[in-house]
């Protein structure tokens, strides 16, 4: 693994009596695509929220590029981009308006915002729909706008929380291509999904979460090799073996 870009140490988070995250620790190397896998309710989203400064951990520490999320949240926010699981968009506005707004919010000036907005929309093959209202877009197009917003300001670390939920294969492939292209350009990516084949295809390493804990962490191939022939075993098999239940529970 390259030098650690993100370090999460013993993260805990509870909501009332429910322990959502229970002692999660891992590191992500620079320029790595790291997968956080697990079924719904495993604690993936809560972990991302803590890493991205939206939530403060009850216990534990996170540093990103040497900046602490507790002590230097503004520094952290200036180098991260977040693509949430939900379509966090203003549907009443156009795609360009959405990108422009979030671009200005991360500190870009008008000219930079305009240039990056158009470039990101082009990257997502949405430049022809730049002035279309998001409410008129298909689910796949909205997902792509969701990702395009996360890329505003050229973040060094991108959090992608289930970016391909409920979309058509064409949009999914486009998102995969984009993520791979971003890594080529030096971006670090944390990717959560409950689609095992996606993680197998994209991620350098994966951590499997269940019940708020990481139950395994390694490269997809190494995890599969623990069960048998890695060419014939799937990550879903690995998850079943480790947790005793299906990923889609």
């Amino acid at each position: 693994m390259a030098e650690a870009f993100l370090v999460a140490k013993d993260l805990h988070k509870s909501f009332n009596d429910h322990k959502a995250v229970n002692g999660v620790s891992f590191t992500i190397g620079k320029n790595e695509i790291f997968g956080l896998l697990g079924p719904n309710g495993a604690g993936k989203t809560t972990t991302i929220r803590m890493l991205s400064t939206v939530l403060e951990p009850d216990v534990g520490e996170v540093t990103i590029s040497g900046f602490s999320t507790r002590q230097q949240p503004d520094k952290v926010r200036s180098i991260i981009g977040v693509c949430p699981q939900e379509l966090a968009l203003y549907e009443e506005l156009t795609a360009l308006d959405n990108l422009t707004f979030f671009g200005r919010l991360v500190g870009l000036n008008s000219r930079e915002t305009r240039a990056q907005s158009m470039a990101n929309l082009a990257l997502m093959e949405l430049e022809q729909r730049a002035k279309g209202k998001v409410s008129k877009f298909s689910g796949g197009m909205k997902r792509r706008v969701n990702l395009a917003i996360a890329l505003m300001g050229h973040p060094k670390l991108l959090f992608l929380d289930e970016p391909t939920v409920g979309i058509d294969p064409q949009s999914r492939n486009k998102i995969f291509e984009t993520i791979q292209g971003l890594r080529t350009n030096g971006m670090t990516v944390l990717y959560t999904t409950h689609y095992m084949e996606e993680a197998d295809r994209l991620c350098d390493r994966v951590a499997i979460m269940d019940g708020g804990k990481i139950v395994a962490i390694d490269t997809p191939r190494a995890l599969k090799a623990k069960l048998g022939d890695p060419d014939k075993t799937t990550l879903e098999d690995v998850f079943l073996k480790l947790t005793g239940r299906s990923l889609r529970d």
Partner: protein
């Protein structure tokens, strides 16, 4: 600086969403305008000729009495010359018949001058005007009482002048003590045209004062402020729906993971709600002044300050409401319900001062009542700036309480 920039950006975004939403524009801007226009039109009929208020006067004095001149000066000679809402004043020649007509409910009431009125005025001792009324018509009764007070006040001034003149003449020994009564008789004769000369014009002058509710009121003076309060509050309540929607679709959380702090988000939400209120206020007053010829009274600055305070209070309420609800539907329902309950209770649909005392007391729990009372004082009763300071302070208190709760309870979906 960064905070302010973010608040500005958030406010701009919210206003862009607002202007992109035709339904929101209609219900916030056009609908209130149509509403006000309609009700103003309806209320303009009140006080017109068909329902003109009639005030009756009678006297028990002989024809040489001063009261004859007073009534002659006040009596409506040409009804067609009356302005809309101006009362018609009728001279009832037969006191006993007039009294019987009131008892029979053929008349709403009348003011009667007593038999000793002129003598009492000129000799300086007190007398009383009679206000005889039928309690079934409180509006006419109030107007009669107001008019009686006006006459008493005017004649009282004349009485003071007379007594002062007599006192000075006695003091300068131009007349010996004991002859003052003769002098008074002389003055009386002079005033009533009995001093040997033919009466020229009346030497007692009367001025008609604005008394009670008998003055013609531009209905816009209470229709527009009332609906302004209602619609600004309603629009701010709808802001709760927008905030809740943003919380549910996770855009608030996305803002947090960007570079917007919680306070900037709160500031942006509040500022955009407030700006919508300012737009409504500008439109309402603009239409009121330009179209409905409203008079903002002697303290227009106070009118605008109350408007702004009311808008700040309503914005704080909208943000506060968003912290209590979990779904867009509940935000919308509670917002509409709160608006529709507080509007009539707080005097948006009818002036509070015509409601019973107990209702006026209950109304004070609503910010609407304070805003409307302030507007009524300024626009209907001609109060000055100082008179509405309590209303301003009350609105500030409401805004602070609502705002404090909003700040303490504001949350994103991640909280």
């Amino acid at each position: 600086m960064k905070q302010l920039r973010n608040i500005w950006l958030l406010m701009g975004k919210d206003l862009k969403i607002f202007t992109a939403d035709r339904a929101a524009l209609f219900f916030s801007i056009l609908f209130p305008f149509l509403f006000v226009t309609l009700f103003n039109f309806v209320m303009t009929g009140v006080g017109s000729e068909d329902s003109r208020l009639q005030l009756n006067l009678a006297t028990r004095e002989p024809p040489t009495g001063i009261s004859y001149q007073i009534i002659a000066a006040l009596e409506t000679v040409d009804e067609s010359a009356l302005k809309p809402g101006e009362p018609q004043i009728v001279w009832l020649k037969d006191y006993e018949q007039a009294k019987k007509d009131v008892e029979d409910r053929k008349l709403t009431g009348f003011i009667a001058f007593p038999e000793n009125f002129s003598e009492a005025v000129l000799m300086g001792y007190g007398t009383e005007l009679e206000v005889i009324y039928n309690p079934s018509n409180p509006q006419a009764t109030a107007a009669l009482e107001g008019m009686a007070q006006g006459i008493a006040s005017g004649v009282g001034t004349q009485q003071v002048v007379n007594n002062t003149v007599i006192g000075l003449l006695v003091e300068k020994e131009l007349y010996q003590p004991g002859t003052a009564g003769d002098l008074a008789q002389s003055i009386r004769a002079m005033l009533t045209g009995q001093a040997g000369n033919a009466p020229e014009s009346s030497r007692i002058s009367f001025t008609t004062e604005k008394v009670g509710e008998v003055e013609a009121i531009n209905p816009a003076n209470f229709v527009i402020p009332g609906y302004l309060v209602m619609f600004v509050f309603m629009t701010a309540s709808f802001a709760a729906q927008q905030i809740t929607k943003e919380r549910l679709n996770h855009t608030l959380e996305r803002l947090l993971s960007g570079s917007a702090s919680r306070s900037a988000i709160l500031g942006g939400v509040y500022a955009s709600t407030a700006v919508k209120g300012v737009i409504q206020i500008a439109i309402f007053w603009g239409i009121g002044i330009l179209v409905f010829k409203m008079d903002l009274g002697i303290a227009p600055a106070a009118v605008f300050i109350i408007s702004l305070l009311m808008m700040l209070m309503a914005s704080a309420f909208g943000v506060m409401l968003s912290t209590f609800v979990k779904t867009e539907r509940s935000a919308s329902s509670i917002g509409v319900l709160a608006s529709l309950i507080m509007a009539p209770l707080g005097g948006c649909w009818w002036p509070l001062f015509i409601t019973p005392k107990w209702m006026q007391s209950i109304a004070k729990i609503t910010p609407h009542a304070w805003a409307n009372t302030g507007f009524n004082k300024l626009l209907i009763f001609g109060a000055d700036f100082n008179a509405v300071i309590p209303e301003m302070l009350a609105l500030i208190a409401f805004a602070v309480v609502f705002g404090a709760i909003a700040i303490l309870k504001f949350r994103t979906d991640a909280d």
